[in-house]
């Protein structure tokens, strides 16, 4: 059993896309793709859609309900003050508050969820495949495989720029 890790280096997204699709068709496990930027098409074709928006909507709805409860408690139950005969419970001004608090909490919570799901935090040391992966090259990192020769052949057919083979510690 080979324990070699194969990394394909690409300089163009279209070539990377073709190679990745070919490998996927042949059932090769892809450990990761690293690059300096991400084209929208590339993301769409190679990854599953993120579920972040559902979380965001749920947070928004919960925030609105809680904020409504809070403002209602404050201005109607705990501290009903009359300002010039105006009603104690007034919905229109509440809309403004609900709207703003909803945006603030949803934005912050979504950002923190993103950071949590990616396990990102200040001071984390980045596991970068190669410094150039954040500059001008794309790195296609493959899992340990049973058929390295075949994979290398596929990569070469696709127009890879360079193939790196690493001994895997695992």
């Amino acid at each position: 059993m080979s324990t070699k890790q194969i990394i394909g280096v690409f300089d163009d997204e279209s070539v990377l896309l073709k190679a990745t699709q070919k490998l996927k068709e042949n059932g090769v496990n892809i450990k990761g793709i690293f690059g300096p930027s991400a084209d929208h098409d590339l993301i769409k074709k190679l990854t599953k859609e993120s579920r972040l928006p559902y979380l965001s909507v749920a947070t928004g709805v919960i925030t609105i309900i809680l904020t409504f409860a809070f403002v209602y408690y404050v201005s109607v139950i705990d501290y009903p003050l009359h300002y010039g005969g105006k009603p104690v419970f007034a919905f229109p001004p509440m809309v403004v508050i609900l709207f703003l608090v909803c945006i603030l909490i949803t934005g912050a919570f979504t950002t923190f969820s993103f950071l949590t799901s990616e396990k990102m935090f200040p001071g984390k040391s980045a596991k970068v495949v190669h410094p150039r992966s954040l500059d001008d090259r794309f790195y296609l990192v493959l899992d340990r495989n049973f058929n390295p020769e075949e994979i290398i052949q596929w990569l070469q057919d696709s127009g890879v720029e360079e193939i790196i083979e690493e001994e895997n510690e695992a």
């Binding site: 990761g32 690293f34 930027s37 934005g107």
Partner: protein, 459 residues
């Protein structure tokens, strides 16, 4: 998805990704030029003046300001509204880019966002100082306290607190999350140990994985989508501070949209000023092209038309209402009376001069673009001056009419915020890439592909 074809080059020259990284990180990696130090010196001096004025306001009270019984809101609120207005453009650019998929905003939104963050900070200072005792600022937050008091949730002033803090926090999130990939790139390239540590720390362990990019793209779209209504709401709420009162000239339903358009207008003008300077200073001609400046000029032209319409509508409403006080404020005090100079500066600078941009030659001429952008910012300052002071100084009772003029302390605080803004922007151009590197790369690639397609078509 909206299929918007790019008609002009948004990134000039066939650049490789490596070239783009090198050129756009130049401002971070090179030693700062001489003018940078000169700018920082001027900014620091202005900050020191602001510090003195702040000290005067705190130690001797707001009596050092030019406020009177009638004109209880003076320069501080004018400048507060002015800075908030300028702050609007940054988020507007981000929305253009993320929500409307306007690719041309891609190379501007980073610096426009920076401008937003610093402008909103400057704006926030004014109400804080105006409180008189800024260390008790937390009283304006709703929290259970020993006085058993709650806030009045019906007050626009409380909405303002919420709106501005929400705006500041959301803009900082948008700005910071947008630059995380670029910070990671710098961390990999820099040889300076301290720089490596700091950039590495703030890049949150970003490694450029496509799966991270997937979630990241979604996150940025969500944040952009959330910020879009926020932009509209912030200045609407600032306008409501005025509109819910009963003073002639303030008590108008047109105020919220009018303020909002004014904000976008002045913010775009400031972006134009800064872009012309940045592209010259850091040789960004290939990334911030004539097309970008042209687009901003178009926005300014239409903004100016809407602003002009708002001025005229206001006057029409005053006349049509038949209320003596309204008619006095608009037709006597503002247009022909003691505030006429400021009024006509406002009108000409905002509604007339930007109409130059109907002419292509004016939009192509950098000097005209630069001058008009400055003129608009001055005009917008006068707009806030007119709205605030003319309504307050000459209200219902002629016996309480008064004149308003700022004191040195008022002016000092204003200069201080300029210092804060200058220093902030200079620190930004020193340590953070001005153009979002990771966002420009796909744009450059799309441009290349489009060119190839066109060539293939010809053959």
């Amino acid at each position: 998805m909206i299929n918007n074809k790019i008609r002009y080059a948004l990134v000039k020259g066939d650049k490789t990704y490596g070239q783009i990284t090198d050129e756009l990180l130049l401002n971070v990696e090179q030693k700062p030029p001489l003018w940078w130090f000169a700018g920082m010196t001027i900014g620091t001096i202005l900050l020191a003046i602001g510090g003195w004025a702040f000290y005067m306001s705190l130690s001797q009270g707001l009596g050092t300001w030019g406020l009177t019984n009638s004109v209880a809101w003076g320069w501080d609120i004018i400048n507060f509204v002015w800075w908030i207005g300028i702050g609007h453009a940054g988020t507007a650019f981000t929305i253009f880019f993320l929500v409307f998929r306007q690719k041309w905003a891609g190379s501007i939104n980073r610096s426009a966002e920076a401008m937003t963050v610093f402008a909103v900070m400057c704006a926030g200072l004014f109400p804080l100082i105006h409180m008189g005792r800024p260390w008790l600022a937390f009283f304006i937050l709703p929290y259970p306290n020993t006085r058993l008091l709650w806030l009045n949730f019906n007050s626009p002033l409380f909405w303002d607190v919420l709106a501005i803090s929400t705006y500041l926090i959301t803009s900082i999130m948008l700005w910071y999350m947008g630059m995380v990939p670029d910070l990671a790139t710098i961390a990999q390239r820099t040889k300076n140990k301290v720089g490596k540590f700091l950039y590495g720390m703030f890049s949150l362990g970003w490694n450029g994985s496509l799966y991270t990019y997937n979630r990241y793209e979604t996150l940025m779209k969500i944040l952009g989508g959330l910020a879009a209504p926020l932009v509209i709401s912030v200045h609407t709420i600032v306008a409501l501070d005025f509109a819910v009162s009963v003073l002639p000239g303030w008590h108008a339903t047109i105020l919220p949209p009018y303020f909002f358009v004014g904000a976008i207008f002045s913010g775009f003008a400031m972006v134009l000023t800064l872009m012309i300077l940045f592209r010259k200073a850091f040789n960004l001609f290939d990334y911030i092209t004539e097309k970008h400046l042209d687009n901003i000029a178009h926005v300014l032209k239409y903004g100016s038309l809407i602003i002009g319409l708002a001025y005229v509508t206001e006057m029409f409403t005053a006349w049509y209402s038949g209320v003596d006080y309204e008619i006095y404020t608009f037709f006597r005090a503002r247009a022909t009376g003691s505030f006429s100079v400021a009024f006509w500066i406002m009108f000409v600078f905002n509604a007339v001069i930007p109409q130059l941009f109907w002419f292509k030659n004016a939009r192509k001429n950098l000097i005209i673009l630069f001058l008009v952008s400055i003129v608009i910012n001055i005009g917008m300052w006068f707009e806030r001056y007119i709205i605030l002071v003319s309504s307050l100084a000459e209200d219902f009772l002629p016996s309480s009419w008064t004149h308003y003029s700022p004191t040195m302390v008022d002016i000092g605080i204003y200069l201080g915020t300029f210092g804060l803004f200058t220093c902030g922007m200079l620190m930004f151009v020193r340590y953070i890439p001005i153009v979002a590197v990771n966002e420009v790369k796909p744009i450059a690639r799309a441009e290349k592909l489009r060119k190839q397609k066109a060539q293939d078509h010809e053959h």
